[in-house]
Structure formats: structure tokens, C-alpha cells
Amino acid sequence: MDRFQNLLRRIGWAVLTIAFVIVLNFFLFRILPGDPARAGVHDPRLKKDAVEAIRVRFGLDKPVINCFDSLNPIKVGNCGVNPLDTQFFIYVKNLFIGEMGFSYHTNRPVTDILVERLWNTVLLIGAGQILSVIIGVLFGILAAWKARTSIDYSALTISLLVWSLPTFWLGIILLFWGSANGFPIGGKATPGMSSMPLSVRWGDIAQHMILPTITYTLVYMGEYMLIMRSSLLDVLSEDYILTAKAKGLSVFQILRDHALKNAMLPLVTVIAINLGFTVAGAIQIESVFSWPGLGGAIFEAVNRRDFPVLQGAFLLIAVAVIAANLIADLTYTYLDPRVKME
């Protein structure tokens, strides 16, 4: 029962956070001078009735929320408006039916653009995350086990160095090197591949993924290594490791059966907290490698001042990170018997 309540509480917080992000997103794009329609409305070349038409089309003729016609806090508007007929309510309602407006640039629905790009980002982040966790954890184990030896010191140095590399710059350098050595120069697939058999297409995509994934792995493995190292060092100095040693278990058995699970637990939380940073990495990597993902969408939207896409991409990323955090949180609860009891 306790566990069920715990689950509900956590889901409740995630929903509340998402609500906060939705409200933030709504007001950010209305307070700051980036409202798609308003930007258009201010175009001096437009005739007055055309402006009015745009305002109606984007719902800008409606009050923002109850009591406020505009976002001018001094100017109190009509409080007797039907709350269902405000900009905010329409915005939220549209979100629920998956409607996020139209791209300023291509005039396609933002939802369509983002959904196809979401999977590309998931593919890239997934591959990079798995690789960096595996490599980071392995090196972390090695460094902790061989603490205060030259193995440990070199692993530490390498991870501090890669941690300090700006993701986009590492990407640029790898791309510079790769393009001279026969790697694809960017994108997700070679043009004209759609007519080829599936296996060839997948091979092509895999080839395009090599450099972005290496960038991703290098950037994030350092942090995982540092965390795994210190977490394992903590565990290995616990009394129960001495017990395990006194039981006559070999070093390998102790690491496998007594240390790793305990040391991996904090890592689950870190991976979750890291997802926010991970997205930051994805924006940079996708921008450098022209990878058609959400991060790339943000890059393009910024450069084209395509605000509807920017707004949608931000919302989608934030919701995805919050959801992933929730999942990691619940996984942790499931993995650690001590949390279950609380």
C-alpha cells in the first residue's frame, strides 16, 4: 500500500511539473516578443483587415486569461468572459488534441514535424547513452578496484578532460576528421536511399550514426566513470565487503555479487538527472551533424526564428525529460529494497 501511495505521489509531482512547464511555455511566448502571430501583426506591410484576419486565425482577439485581455497587468480586462473562450484555455485544449500550431517556415503542423524527429533523437540518445554508460561503468569499476594506481590516475585524467570538452566542438573536430576519412558528412541517410532494400538502408543509417554516437559517448562517459568510481569506492569500504572477503569469496565474486548492484544504484538517479544535460548534448550534436532530431529542430528554428516549432520542441523535450525522470525514479524504488520499505 505504501508503495502504491509512493507511486501515486511521484506521478502526481511529474504531472504538476508538466503543468508548470505548459504554463511557463504559454506565458514565455506571450510576454516575450516572440509570439508568432504578434510578430506577423507588427509587419508594417500588412493591411489592417489582414492583421485582423491573422489575429482571429491565431485566436489573438480573445482575452489571454480571465480578467486580462492582454498581458498588461495594469489594464484589467473583462472578468466575465467565458473561461473556455480564453487564449490560455484554447492553448491547453489544443495541446490535449496534439495541436501545436503551424511552422512559420514550412507551414506544416508542428506536431507532425516534431513527431518524426522525436524518434531520430531517441535513436541517437539511446545509442549514445547506452554506450557511454557501459564504457563509463567499466572504466569506473577498473579505476575504483585499482584505486591509487596508474590505471586509476589515467582514467581520472581522461574523464576530467572529456568532461571539459564542449560537445559541439568535439563534434566539429570529429566531423572534420571524419569527412576527410570517408565518413558521411552529416544527416541521417544518404540521399536516394529510399529505393534500396531495408538492410542497406539500415546499414547506411548506422554509418551516419557512427560519428555522432562517438561524440556523445566520449562526452558523457567521463562523468559516468567518475560517479561509478566514487560510488564503488564507497561501497568497497563498507563493512559488508570485509564480511564477503572473510567468507573467502574471490575478488571477482565480491565485485560481482556484493559491490556492483549497490554501487550502480546511485548511478540510476544520476542517469535520470543527466537526461536534461543529455538533451543539451543532443541539441549540439544534432546541429553539428545535421541529424534530423529535436535538437536539430531547435537549432533550425532558432536560426529561422520559427517560433511555433521552437515552442513545441521545448515542450516536447521538457515533457520527455520529466517522464524519463519519473521512470528512473520508479526504477530506483524497484531496485533498492531499502526504499521499498519507506
Binding site: W13, G34, L233, S237, A244, A246, N262, G276, A280, P337
Partner: protein, 642 residues
């Protein structure tokens, strides 16, 4: 991170930072980082003097000046507009450092203030601030920064404020927990008790103790701000009037440096960012090490090899299960002479015998036990002596051979089973593990039955078998530990203060259990304790240790009625005797000697009521007491009576 290594009393406000600085001076990693930052800061300040060209002199450049490779004229070549990359590199440091430091200042000020408020005032404020922090923490930083900067104008001030106002969350968390830890310190409580104002307490008492952690946090926040700024600039969101490293990369990457092969335009600005961030990272690591010094040692580090010696022949007494002869253990730390933790301690153990090992804390009892099982921490080394068990000298075995003897031959119950059991594995699992390790042929289907039987032996019902250690009470855990120690039918069980930290009733139960098991299973037990009452009740023989040496070793009756070593006599005086209720109890003044400052003569001499001149200069050997072949003591007085 929560607990600082600073535990002094009332603080003069500046002394913490001074102390901090002094320690940092000894940290190589931190100093290298600091040096790197000083260099780049000087470069930024003296940019006009260092750079060969004016940063704004882009006009009047011909097409032939674009993307020129490095030369004497242009040290780092030229970029897409024909300007000198070296000049831009120098000036670029200004933007990075400005944004980094000012944004971090905002983050630290906001986060620090919120953290202190939450930690100090608690209640509704804390609730609200921490909830807000939780929410902000899961919203991805960079996308939010990008969105806000893209919507507003990407001016320098704008960027500083946006990065600064979004990056405070971790600081608030860290500062809050530190404030909570500091708040309950004695001098803060005292200041509150004498009615000091809240502002005064925060300013004079809390802030100085939060400061070091704030400094570490600041270094981290600066590096994140620098990375965020350069990423923004690379994405095209930078002040167009100010050249920055990220902006240089944006231009070079977007305007053909890749296709023209102009690596210099790409490498130089990236190098600048790496230099700053690496400098900050090293400094941060150094500060962290100063604040939370950790030894980085653990139980799996290879121990020091035992000092080589000739194989000894064990004595020919077939009844002896265990014979420890002249065992000496040193603790070795770099730059110091080895500390003699155990010197020439010996004892024997017959089948079914219960040996009591007594002495104050710090007298080497646990070290002796770990030494004979070869479980010493990395600094420990067996420098002399032998341990005979089952016809073998344990000090001569390889680690693999030793592993077969541990637990199946000699098992150990550690003091404080609280942490001696793995918290994430069930009790039955941990008991079963020992059985499968040492009895590979044990039939699998009988394993659970055997575990139930063992737990039954120590009085734990089988329905608690598959529970986790934290679901047990302290006494149950200790009993589970005993069950585990018995799992492989060992000949010797070492019980290292098995009842400390348990309440008296449970203590009695555990002790009762141990002596019953000894009778039932014919175990030989070494019982480490400071409780002389328990020893009198249970043991056959007693080994009294003091300062790492044998003080006295005799049958239990002899020790109680005819103790010869002054230390034993003093210990007995400090212990209530029910048969002589009028007897006055007395304690021994002073403490056992520190290992790094052992007295030159007898180790007990400084506290000994009977010490005479010889005791101060000469360490007594172990002498047999006349008339009792089983009684030895290391005291010059004993020698005299011979």
C-alpha cells in the same frame, strides 16, 4: 557533501577561508587549475596589449585574405572574414569569462540565499523553495535558455541574466543541506540561546561555514555557464557586436571552414573553451578534495605481502586447533616510520576452548584477529610470526589457498552487524552464498533446508528467512551473522565484540547462544570484548592485551584470583564484583598509547601505579609465572619474582 571536515568550535569568520586556502596550496590538481585560470584571466584583461590587430579591423580585406593558414603574420591564420584568428581568440576570452563569472555570481547569490533561507528558517519557506527547486531541476536547462534568449535579444546582459537565473538550482540544494548541518552545531545553538538576532547568526555563524561549499559550487557553476554561453553562441545566439569563442565557431562552421579545410579557425576557439573549462574542473576537483578528503582505500586493495621468513614447524600438540606464534603487525603509511600495532603476540586454542581476548579499545584486539585471517587493511602488514591452522602456516599461503580456509575453517562475527550484512541481498541469500562457495557438492535442493536449520539454531523463525537485513532488529541481525558464521561448520569462530551496540537483554541472549553452540558443536571460540564479567562467566582462558602486546595470558580463574600484570589488576579493579559489593571501583587514568607515539619502555609504564625506573627504558619480555605453566605476563615485576 553535507558534512564538512571542519569541526572546530566557535569560528573567527575568516579563519575557515584561510585554512581552506592553506590546504588548497598543497593540492597539485587545484593549483594547476588555478594557474590555468589566472593565465586566461590575464590574457582577457590585457587583450589590447597582447593582440597584434584591432578586433574591429575587418574592413578593407580582400578575398585573398580569407581563411589564410597560420603564418608569421597571422599566428592562428585568418577566418571567413579575413580577420586574424589570434586576435579574435584573445578578445573572445573576455566574453567567456565575463558571462561565466557574472552569470555564476547571479546563480550563486540566488541559490545561496534560497538555500540558506530554506535551511535556516525551515517550515513553509523550505517547503516552497525545495518544491520549486525540484520542479526547476527536471526542466532541461539549455533548451529553456535557448528559448528565452531566442525570444529576447541575444545581448551580453541578457545572456548573463538568463544563464544566471536558470542555473541556481543545484546550489540551493547543496547550500540548504549544509545550512541544516551547520544549524545544529553547538556554537550556533549557543548564539541563539543568548538571543543573537537571525541576521547576525546567519552572517557571523552560518555563512562562514557555508562559504567553502559555496566556493566549490561556484567553480562548477562558472564552468557550466561558460559551456552554456559558448553553446548559445555556436547555435547563433550571441551578441553580434562582441566576438566570442562560440561565435567564432558558429561563423567558421557555418561559413565554409569545413569545406576549405581551415582547421585553424575551428581549433583555436575550441581550445580556448577547453582551457577555461578544464582549468575550472581541475580547480573544482582540487577544492572538493580539500573539503572532503578521502583516502581512496578499500577492502579489495591487494594487501602488503607478509615479510619473508623461514618456514617454522608447528608444535606437536594434536589437540591444538589454532596456534598463533609471535605475530607482529605494522601499519605503514608513507613518509612515517611503521607503527607497531601488534608485537609478538601468541596464543593457542584447543578444540572446544573459549578464549577471551580483553583490553581497552585501541589495544590491537581487532588487528590481531584481522591479521591472523589476513584481512588487514592495505596499510597493515604481518612482519613476523606464524599462524598454524590445520597443519598449515596461514601466513605462508597464497590468497587462493587462504580463501578456502576463511569461513570454512575460521569464521568471524564482526562487531556491529549493522553494516556487516549486505543491505541489498536477503539474509538467506547471503548465508547460502557461503555454503555454495565452500561446499560446492552440497545438494542444491537441500540448501534452503540447511539455511532454515541454521537460522533455527540462532532462534530466527523461518518466515524471516528471505527478509533483507534492514527489516531485522539489531539483535536479529547479530544472530543472523552468527548463523552465517556457522554455515560451513568451521572449527574456529572469532566473535569480535558481537554484543556492543546491543541492549543488555539481547546481549545476554547472544552470549547464552554462543556458549550453548560451543557446547553443542564443539567449536573453538575467540571472544573479543572489554566486558570482564562476560569473560569470567564464559571463558576458559584469557588473553589480556595492552598497546599491541600481550600483558597477561592465563586460565580464567588465575586471572581473576592471581593476576600478575598491573594492567590486569587495574582492569579488575575497574570492574564490579558481586561477591564483594563494598569494594570501591576505580578507573585507570589516561588512555592506551597511540601507535605513532609508543613509550620507549613498557607500554603500560605511563599509567602503571607500580612502575619503576627500568619500566621507562626497557620493554619487558613475556615471562612465565613461577608455578603455573599456563600463566605468562610481560612485566619486569614478574621476572623479579621468579
Amino acid at each position: 557533501m553535507t558534512e564538512l571536515a571542519l569541526k572546530t568550535a566557535a569560528p573567527p569568520a575568516s579563519s575557515y577561508m584561510l585554512d581552506f586556502w592553506r590546504k588548497l596550496n598543497k593540492n597539485r590538481m587545484g593549483l594547476v587549475g588555478l594557474g590555468m585560470l589566472v593565465v586566461i584571466t590575464l590574457v582577457a584583461i590585457f587583450a589590447p596589449a597582447i593582440s597584434p590587430y584591432d578586433p574591429s579591423s575587418t574592413s578593407g580585406v580582400g578575398a585573398s585574405d580569407i581563411y589564410q593558414p597560420p603564418s608569421a603574420e597571422h599566428l592562428f591564420g585568418t577566418d571567413d572574414a579575413g580577420t586574424d584568428v589570434f586576435t579574435n581568440f584573445i578578445y573572445g576570452s573576455r566574453v567567456s569569462l565575463t558571462v561565466g563569472f557574472f552569470a555564476a555570481f547571479i546563480s550563486i547569490a540566488v541559490g545561496g540565499a534560497l538555500g540558506i533561507i530554506a535551511g535556516f528558517f525551515g517550515g513553509r519557506w523550505e517547503n516552497f523553495i525545495m518544491r520549486l527547486t525540484d520542479v526547476m531541476l527536471v526542466i532541461p536547462d539549455l533548451p529553456l535558455i535557448v528559448v528565452i534568449v531566442a525570444l529576447t535579444k541575444p545581448g551580453l546582459l541578457n545572456i548573463i541574466f538568463v544563464i544566471g537565473l536558470i542555473g541556481w538550482t543545484t546550489t540551493a540544494r547543496v547550500v540548504r543541506s549544509q545550512t541544516l548541518a551547520v544549524k545544529s552545531r553547538k556554537f550556533v545553538l549557543r548564539a541563539r540561546a543568548i538571543g543573537a538576532g537571525r541576521g547576525h547568526i546567519i552572517w557571523r555563524h552560518i555563512l562562514p561555514l557555508v562559504m567553502p561549499i559555496l566556493v566549490v559550487q561556484a567553480v562548477l557553476v562558472v564552468s557550466l555557464a561558460v559551456l552554456n554561453e559558448s553553446t548559445l553562441a555556436f547555435l547563433g545566439l550571441s551578441d553580434p557586436t562582441k566576438v566570442s569563442w562560440g561565435q567564432m565557431l558558429n561563423y567558421a562552421f557555418g561559413r565554409g571552414a569545413m569545406s576549405t579545410g581551415a582547421w585553424w579557425a575551428l581549433v583555436a576557439p575550441g581550445f580556448g573553451i577547453v582551457w577555461v573549462v578544464l582549468g575550472l574542473t581541475l580547480l573544482g576537483q582540487g577544492l572538493e578534495q580539500v573539503l572532503n578528503p578521502r583516502l581512496d582505500t578499500h577492502h579489495l586493495m591487494p594487501g602488503r605481502p607478509n615479510v619473508k621468513k623461514e618456514a617454522e614447524v608447528r608444535s606437536d600438540n594434536a589437540k591444538l586447533v589454532l596456534e598463533v606464534r609471535n605475530l607482529s603487525v605494522d601499519y605503514i603509511s608513507e613518509g612515517k616510520p611503521p607503527a607497531h600495532a601488534i608485537e609478538n603476540v601468541g596464543f593457542t586454542l584447543k578444540q572446544g576452548e573459549l578464549l577471551g581476548l580483553v583490553g581497552e579499545s585501541g589495544c590491537g584486539k581487532t588487528t590481531l584477529m584481522l591479521g591472523l585471517l589476513r584481512l588487514l587493511p592495505q596499510a597493515g602488514q604481518v612482519v613476523n610470526g606464524s599462524v598454524f591452522f590445520g597443519g598449515k602456516d596461514l601466513t605462508m599461503l597464497s590468497e587462493e589457498e587462504m580463501n578456502t580456509i576463511r569461513w570454512s575453517g575460521i569464521s568471524i562475527i564482526f562487531q556491529g552487524a549493522m553494516n556487516a550484512l549486505n543491505p541489498v541481498r536477503t539474509v538467506s541469500d547471503q548465508i547460502g552464498e557461503a555454503i555454495t562457495k565452500h561446499m560446492p557438492s552440497f545438494p542444491k535442493e537441500k540448501l534452503q533446508g540447511r539455511i532454515t536449520e541454521l537460522l533455527d539454531l540462532v532462534g530466527i523463525a523461518s518466515d524471516h528467512k528471505d527478509s533483507f537485513p534492514h527489516q531485522y532488529s539489531g539483535g536479529m541481525r547479530q544472530r543472523a551473522m552468527i548463523a552465517m558464521a556457522l554455515a560451513c561448520n568451521p572449527q574456529v569462530v572469532i566473535a569480535d565484540e558481537p554484543t556492543t551496540a546491543l541492549d543488555v537483554m539481547v546481549q545476554a541472549q547472544i552470549l547464552e547462544l554462543l556458549s550453548e553452540l560451543r557446547r553443542k558443536l564443539g567449536l573453538a571460540v575467540i571472544f573479543v570484548t572489554h566486558d570482564l564479567g562476560v569473560v569470567a562467566e564464559m571463558c576458559d582462558r584469557v588473553l589480556v592485551m595492552y598497546g599491541g602486546v600481550t600483558a597477561e595470558y592465563a586460565n580464567v580463574d588465575t586471572v581473576y584470583n592471581d593476576a600478575r600484570h598491573p594492567y590486569t589488576q587495574e582492569l579488575l579493579k575497574a570492574f564490579p564484583d558481586l561477591t564483594k559489593p563494598k569494594k570501591k571501583l576505580s578507573s585507570i587514568p589516561g588512555y592506551p598509547p597511540r601507535l605513532d607515539a609508543l613509550p620507549p619502555g613498557c607500554r603500560f609504564a605511563p599509567r602503571c601505579p607500580a612502575a619503576f625506573e627500568r619500566c621507562q627504558i626497557e620493554q619487558p619480555a613475556i615471562h612465565a609465572v613461577a608455578g603455573d605453566s599456563n600463566h605468562v605476563a610481560s612485566c619486569h615485576l614478574v621476572e623479579a619474582t621468579k
